[in-house]
Amino acid sequence: MTLVTEIDYGTPASKSEKTVTLTIDGVEVTVPEGTSIMRAAMEVGTKIPKLCATDSVEAFGSCRLCLVEIEGRAGTPASCTTPAMNGLVVHTQNSRLKQLRRGVMELYISDHPLDCLTCAANGDCELQDMAGAVGLRDVRYGYDGANHVFAKSKDGAANDAWMPKDETNPYFTYDPSKCIVCNRCVRACEEVQGTFALTIAGRGFESRVSPGMSEDFLDSECVSCGACVQACPTATLSEKSLIDIGQPEHSVVTTCAYCGVGCAFKAEMRGEEVVRMVPYKDGKANRGHSCVKGRFAWGYATHKERILKPMVRDKITDPWRETTWEEAIGRVVSEFKRIQYQFGREAVGGITSSRCTNEETFLVQKLIRAGFGVNNVDTCARVCHSPTGYGLRTAFGTSAGTQDFDSVEDSDVMLVIGANPTDAHPVFASRMKKRLRAGAKLIVVDPRRIDLVRSAHIEASHHLPLLPGTNVAVLTAMAHVIVTEGLVNEKFVRERCELDDFQEWAAFVSEERNSPEAVAKFTGVDPAELRAAARLYATGGNAAIYYGLGVTEHSQGSTTVMAIANLAMVTGNLGRRGVGVNPLRGQNNVQGACDMGSFPHELSGYRHISDDTTRTMFEEFWGAKLNPEPGLRIPNMLDAAVEGTFKGIYIQGEDILQSDPDTRHVSAGLAAMECVVVQDLFLNETANYAHVFLPGSTFLEKDGTFTNAERRIQLVRKVMTPLNGYADWEITQLLAHGFGLDWKYAHPSEIMDEIAALTPTFKNVSFKKIEEMGSVQWPCNDANPEGSPIMHATTFARGKGKFMLTEYVPTDERTGPRFPLLLTTGRILSQYNVGAQTRRTDNVMWHEEDRLEIHPHDAEQRGIKEGDWVRIQSRAGETALRALITDRVAPGVVYTTFHHPMTQANVITTDFSDWATNCPEYKVTAVQVGLSNGPTQYQEDYEAFAQASRRIAAVEAAE
């Protein structure tokens, strides 16, 4: 195995369709207009020496190493900033250029340490490479003059130009003594990440890279995305893991297991040890960028708390007992069979994991349907994007986002609703910000002033800070403006949509009660701003809607998704680049988990279980009779457990006790079950109620595929042996054998072949195909052999688009004298979901606890000061957190994240849910907030219970 290396063309690709032809070193080359000479040379394999250029950022022209001669032109222009033109004759090497370059390098090296042998970049240093490339043999200036290299001069005097290493960031170091001030890090922070945390302080010889106002990296605005580290040509910015381990010897391209963006990474390895994760330039979701989670927060994979042996116990009050796989699997099988005999077949079920691969998810639902003989299978999408599935299927005929991420490059207007991409989907947010800086307009609909509303070089044209729970009213009012002001795209509606439905809908939205003025009294949104936003969306050019859980996690989540689809259809913003309806999916494979038939009512490819043709096909393929009735969804399973008709559950990679609403109800449901089986990396919160624990494997330890938010199926590749002994799909297969199923999968690719055979939208998908194409977006079948970057191009999946009436129904969760504030919840950049992974990394340095954001007015009324412990009470329960006083939230609204189990945020969320899918209403809870002395009794009791529950009995010594 070798290192996967990508070609650095020096400058970004030109998108021009016009080409030019020139001659470089006697070789004719044709390139798109606007291509630099440096890039044109690299196209034919000629590496012009360079330091300040790299193709992730625009040309800068500062290092003067890439000089060339052009016949008929004076001087020696920099090839990175000089565009290729028809007929140019370029020479990249002659005695004059050699001498110039050697002079440049001599100056660089005269102010650079010569500790190459002990340097972390040894073997991967562009400065070293260039010294070699230009034939540098001597530095005539010596090292005694002014320099940034030595802390003290030879006579012992302090060197004021020298700066110590900054090691404050947990993942990388900044060593100013090795910096050549090429600006690549500064430009990567601006152009790639869009945070503008870095700058160059000082001028001339005093020029230094400076995080913020000459702060430490950790104290600056830096979001630790790693773009600067990746851009650095020297060891100035180096991963600490690289410094610790040394240069990798091979690398494997794989897919990140954090959010739904699905970044491609190179796992750079030494044997089975990960040296670093480096974003892969050819990854079509991330285009070479990364965030702090995927790039750095993978240490959980080898964390000491990871459970590596199966464990069982009779009662949840007993300590765990480590055991063999045989005993653990045998226990599950005998218990589930007993429960089914005693309480009926329907008394068991399971939950598939949105963090596991498509293949693993498919097997879990197959085991439940064909092995247990029930359809009681669900997945975490229940609590996030199930309304997306229902809403988009109703409107368009299929349950997925319409675009690829590249599409954003052609957007003129972005409407972001109930999503906070810079925290939850950071790598895609960087791509959005890049487009916004280039002139696209932005509308944000969110109760909270998220970072996108106003941050470095980005400002939303309109921010509609609505009251939580009023999405439908605001979106219907936008439709009111579009219809009543004559902004309908009539051609699109006439050709592409059901006309009767449209006319009924247009009459409905035009009613005065749906006008911005009429809804303002309960949405809190300024009607003039709403009208302006609607006009901009309808008339601003290519308009794309991006939305998140702030849309779906409401009583009217599915209605809001339909309202979004209505807006896109009425303005014709579907079926081409730059437009569309784009759900930003939460977990790495939540799209895939839905596609794979994880919902209780449908088989893979979103086909209802009652459909005889589909079911029969599965029955024949699997050799098992399937139940034609829909099964229980997660909240229904818990209800049934409390009621006494549901007794056994197999949960793969999901922590419902922490992530699902109304914790007391979840724990009551789990406690009422007789066999709870948890398969995970760690003893998560749900495992407190488990009887069997099956240790799971990480994404580094298995082969398979993940499907991201743009329907892109990408390979996950095994880079190390599972520490627990088995990949998760192998564990499910062992269970299946226990239930009498004759599975013989030797590799996940065989499972994908089965999925393709059974699922029309996956017909042409195979590991081989994905390997060849790098990734593929479903539908991938005979009609779309290369996959489908953009859906509904000429017709909708259901034929004609369907407008649905979206009557606003206020949630029953209302404020009143007892609970006067509305709590809404969200995420933060450095942590992921329930935090099981990220809390076990140094990411806790950015977010060691969840805080309650509260507006200064509300805080003052209650005598709350920054950092005070406050109690939050709802009708479901109460918890305590420390306050963070900020005007990012409007008066009347409070906000928290839920990454830490001690927070118990879900003790206060209620059991209200979306009308169509039972997706919980996390985003609206009426609460009261008041000062408190510290954690509540419940939090303290829970902590004690959790600790007791995690006890593992010491193994008796052999005699």
């Binding site: 069979k337 089914q340 005999y341 005693q342 309480f343 009926g344 077949r345 329907e346 003989g373 359809n375 009681n376 409905f508 009583s555 009217q556 599915s558 209605t559 209780p600 009512h601 209802h608 009652s610 009735e629 829909p630 099964g631 229980l632 969804r633 229904n636 209800d639 049934a640 409390v642 009621e643 008709t645 009436l805 009557e807 129904v809 059991d911 849910s913 009308w915 169509a916 899918t917 039972n918």
Partner: protein, 79 residues
């Protein structure tokens, strides 16, 4: 029974969405939604509730539930 309260609330929520389309179109769609997404024991539960008077149910929800196919009975010892 508390369990029935929850089913009633869910049925009413579904009815509220389809209500805008008028009774004639709404009722079959409400019935289909419940048929498609509720497992048999939930459907049995709401049918039991209707049989015992159907308290608290929205009229459209009630009309829809009366149209539900009887849910298959599943008993123990069928595993």
């Amino acid at each position: 029974m508390q369990q029935h309260d929850k089913l009633v609330m869910m049925a009413n929520q579904i009815a509220k969405f389809f209500e805008a389309q008028g009774e004639v179109r709404a009722v079959p769609q409400i019935a289909k939604h419940i048929q498609d997404f509720w497992d048999p024991r939930m459907r049995r539960g709401i049918l039991e509730h209707v049989a015992s008077g159907g308290a608290g149910l929205d009229p459209l929800a009630l009309a829809a539930i009366r149209k539900l196919h009887p849910a298959p009975q599943v008993s123990a010892h069928q595993a």
